[in-house]
């Protein structure tokens, strides 16, 4: 019997090594796998390269991982936000490296890695600072620049529901980078509200097929949901 369900958060992240490249899903706080990140902080791996759209919000999740001094480098599109003070301080102190990638190129580089594409020509960034040092090519009269795939040792992502084969469905804009990162990492670890019985996910609505997923950790329903239905919340968590 195949079962990708982990015994718990600590078990799921136990083999992440120092120096790993870790993709972390989420856009801002939506879809950010905060519980898996907390488990990674407790596990102790350090000297990490983190790939996410942002560089942390407030003092939880990715911000806490950076604050704990575990991150050597961030690859992202938008580090500076109103509440990115932990990253901002580390960056200004020269204690963290930043590779800035336009958001669509970031998504496509991750997708390319998962899909076995050796690189792609994109019009995004042509004639700007992000094109410096990159190969360019004119195709049908338009200039493009070469972007290379972005892989990871581990992806930590958040989804809504899984089954024990690792099939995933997401919820609303919390999907964002999850399906891309799941395919682009050697080991993909997913936190979900619930692991349902095999056959309970409609195959037509599965977004990430289980082939891309190694471990799932059920955490229980979040406070703004009841039996999978939105019941409201006072503020964004």
């Amino acid at each position: 019997m195949i079962s990708k369900t982990s015994a718990g958060l600590a078990d799921a992240v136990s083999d992440i090594r120092d120096g790993s490249t870790v993709m972390i899903g989420g856009f801002g706080r939506a879809g950010q796998p905060v519980e898996l990140i907390d488990a990674l902080i407790a596990q102790g791996a350090t000297d990490l390269t983190v790939i996410n759209n942002n560089a942390g919000n407030g003092d939880t999740g990715i911000a806490a991982l950076i604050g704990a001094g575990r991150v050597r480098k961030v690859i992202c599109s938008f580090p500076r936000q109103t509440d990115s003070y932990i990253f901002d301080a580390k960056y200004r102190a020269g204690e963290i490296e930043l590779e800035l990638v336009p958001q669509g190129n970031l998504a496509e580089r991750i997708r390319a890695a998962g899909a076995g594409i050796g690189g792609f020509y994109t019009p995004t960034g042509v004639g700007t600072l992000v094109a410096e040092g990159k190969e360019t090519r004119t195709i049908d009269g338009r200039e493009y620049l070469l972007e290379l795939p972005l892989r990871a040792d581990v992806a930590l992502i958040s989804a809504f529901k899984a089954d024990r084969w690792g099939n995933l469905v997401y919820r609303k804009t919390a999907r964002n980078f999850g399906p891309l990162m799941a395919a682009a990492a050697a080991t993909t670890i997913v936190q979900v509200d619930e692991v349902v019985e095999l056959g309970d996910l409609d195959p037509e609505t599965v977004v990430t097929p289980g082939i891309f997923v190694d471990r799932v950790v059920p955490l229980g329903e979040r406070p703004w949901l009841a039996a999978g239905e939105f019941v409201g919340a006072e503020k964004v968590a």
Partner: protein, 245 residues
């Protein structure tokens, strides 16, 4: 010289967006435009974090942490909405499927080069987000901005001095003083606000501006700009709270 305030400018831009358009409104001032899209027209809002059919902010107590816009603000879904992952979302831009995006700007050159992501200041933390993808992807890239910076220099320039977001990508610039179209011959003024005159605009920007106001070009106003000519266009009364049907 007087101009118009930000909400009036947002309403003016909303008037140029036709029914059926798929539109991405950038973070900041362009977000205001959603408040002035007429309720009786179906205009689909795209947010690059993975949604088409985005609705207005939720009622208090109905904030769903899984449902946010590109500015990380809580939003709602309208009937007909769709969710998708980031690679599809940016494929919609690069693939030429998005009709209009409206972005803010530090500078726009008279050839339509856009600078809006980085001032190049030594202590600035650069953050580009989806701006470069939007700038080269949408069929029409509109800029919404004040004409002048806080210290009174023109944001419309012969050459951008800030790092570029995209080259030759802007088609129209809406400012608090006037609307400018980017043409092969430079910037053309298509509308002015308040008591602004073309001579004042030329003096402030230092640019050669051509006059393409409908009344200036053809006194009988037979010339028209199609977006403003759409049937069923609602009057802008400034009181609309959102684009929910």
């Amino acid at each position: 010289m007087t101009g118009i305030d930000r909400d009036t400018l947002a309403a003016r831009i909303a008037r140029d967006i036709p029914e059926g358009a798929v539109v991405n409104l950038g973070i900041g001032a362009p977000t205001l435009i959603a408040n002035y899209l007429p309720d009786d027209l179906e205009i689909i809002l795209h947010t690059e974090n993975g949604m088409l059919g985005m609705g207005p902010a939720p009622a208090p107590g109905r904030i769903d942490p899984d449902l946010i816009n590109a500015g990380k603000q809580p939003v709602t879904e309208l009937p007909g909405a769709a969710y998708f992952h980031h690679a599809d979302s940016f494929g919609m831009m690069r693939g030429g499927h998005l009709d209009v995006c409206v972005l803010g700007a530090f500078q726009v050159s008279e050839r339509g080069d856009l600078a809006n992501w980085h001032t190049g200041a030594p202590d600035a933390i650069p953050a580009v987000g989806g701006a470069m993808d939007l700038a080269i992807g949408a069929k029409d890239v509109y800029v919404m901005t004040d004409l002048l910076t806080r210290d009174g220099t023109s944001k419309l320039v012969a050459e951008c001095s800030y790092p570029l977001t995209g080259v030759g990508c802007v088609s129209r610039i809406y400012t608090d003083r006037a609307v400018f179209d980017v043409t092969p011959d430079g910037l053309a003024v298509s509308d002015v606000f308040g008591d602004t005159t073309l001579d004042e605009l030329r003096e402030l920007t230092g640019l050669t501006l051509t006059d393409q106001r409908p009344e200036a070009a053809t006194p009988l106003a037979t010339r028209h700009f199609s977006p403003e000519n759409g049937a069923g266009r609602a009057e802008i009364d400034g009181s609309r709270g959102g684009n929910t049907p």
